[in-house]
Symmetry: C2
Subunit: 144 residues, 2 copies
DNA sequence: TATAAATAGGATAATATTATCCGAAATAAA
DNA sequence: TTTATTTCGGATAATATTATCCTATTTATA
């Protein structure tokens, strides 16, 4: 469904959010340990998230990654996915046709439409805040 | 969503179905032209579909690929996807956790559940017959 | 100002996926 | 039985994704 990069990106963002709520900046090393991902690769993904202004980085001593507390509630899962995987997941044709729309649909166009829209709705309506809260309260987990 | 291999596999199977309804066997060459896919790679995918008994191959002169007419209505999209991509698309964890279930859910487990189940339902309830019929009647298309 | 601690980013490597090529095996028909 | 046709399957190549490494740049503090 999502690329590895996107999976890491989502988990990393949640971990940064939790720590930002506690006013702590975190390093790629700490993040990678906490979400069980390769450190250097995770660092690359963090760079992309910074470029997309989803997270914030502070260089130098006492630096690290953080998210503005006030923004945590308004950041949606869709923004993270878009930043890393783009919008092909709910835009592109299910069977890879260059052109696929109501006028020229692929064989599964209508069948997929609902699923796609469900996914899109879910991503756009799931906030970083709720994901972070569920980790904090021990309802869900970032690694095995 | 699906791998390229799976996209080609679905389109190829639909094309074979249409021709089988007309009692014609088709070659990888013809299939690749009709679904706009690389021929040799498509041939590999056809082999996999044969191994999974979704399509049937006849070697030698006047041979080619076909599907038993009687089976076209009972073959579901899910079988094709399973044959090529396996069931990870609606089984694996959305964030790649090794273990992810009700007792130990990843952050998006519940959010994904609905989408996943919608996808699963759609794949299991879309028949090859209906996909083939829509191509035959010009309602949908296998290539641009 | 010097130093240590951090992220940024380019280069490279490993792996998975997609794609191609070619000879072997099977089969219908001459 | 020979020949032409066709799928099968192994080897290889190209490309994309995932992952690693190393140096440059930035910045807080001593």
């Amino acid at each position: 469904m999502f690329s590895k990069a996107c999976e890491y990106g989502i988990k990393a963002t949640i971990f940064i959010a939790i720590n930002s709520l506690d006013s702590r900046r975190v390093s790629p090393k700490e993040i990678a340990e906490e979400i069980n991902s390769p450190q250097a690769f995770t660092a690359k993904i963090l760079q992309a998230l910074v470029r997309h202004k989803i997270i914030n980085s502070v260089k130098g001593a006492y630096g690290g990654f953080e998210i503005d507390k006030k923004e945590i509630a308004s950041i949606k899962l869709s923004q993270i996915v878009n930043a890393i995987d783009g919008d092909k997941i709910y835009k592109g044709c299910g069977l890879g046709l260059e052109i696929c729309d109501e006028n020229h649909p692929c064989p599964v166009h209508d069948n997929f439409k609902e699923v796609r829209e469900g996914l899109k709705f879910m991503l756009e309506n799931t906030s970083l805040e709720e994901l972070a809260m569920n980790i904090q309260s021990g309802v869900s987990f970032l690694k095995v």
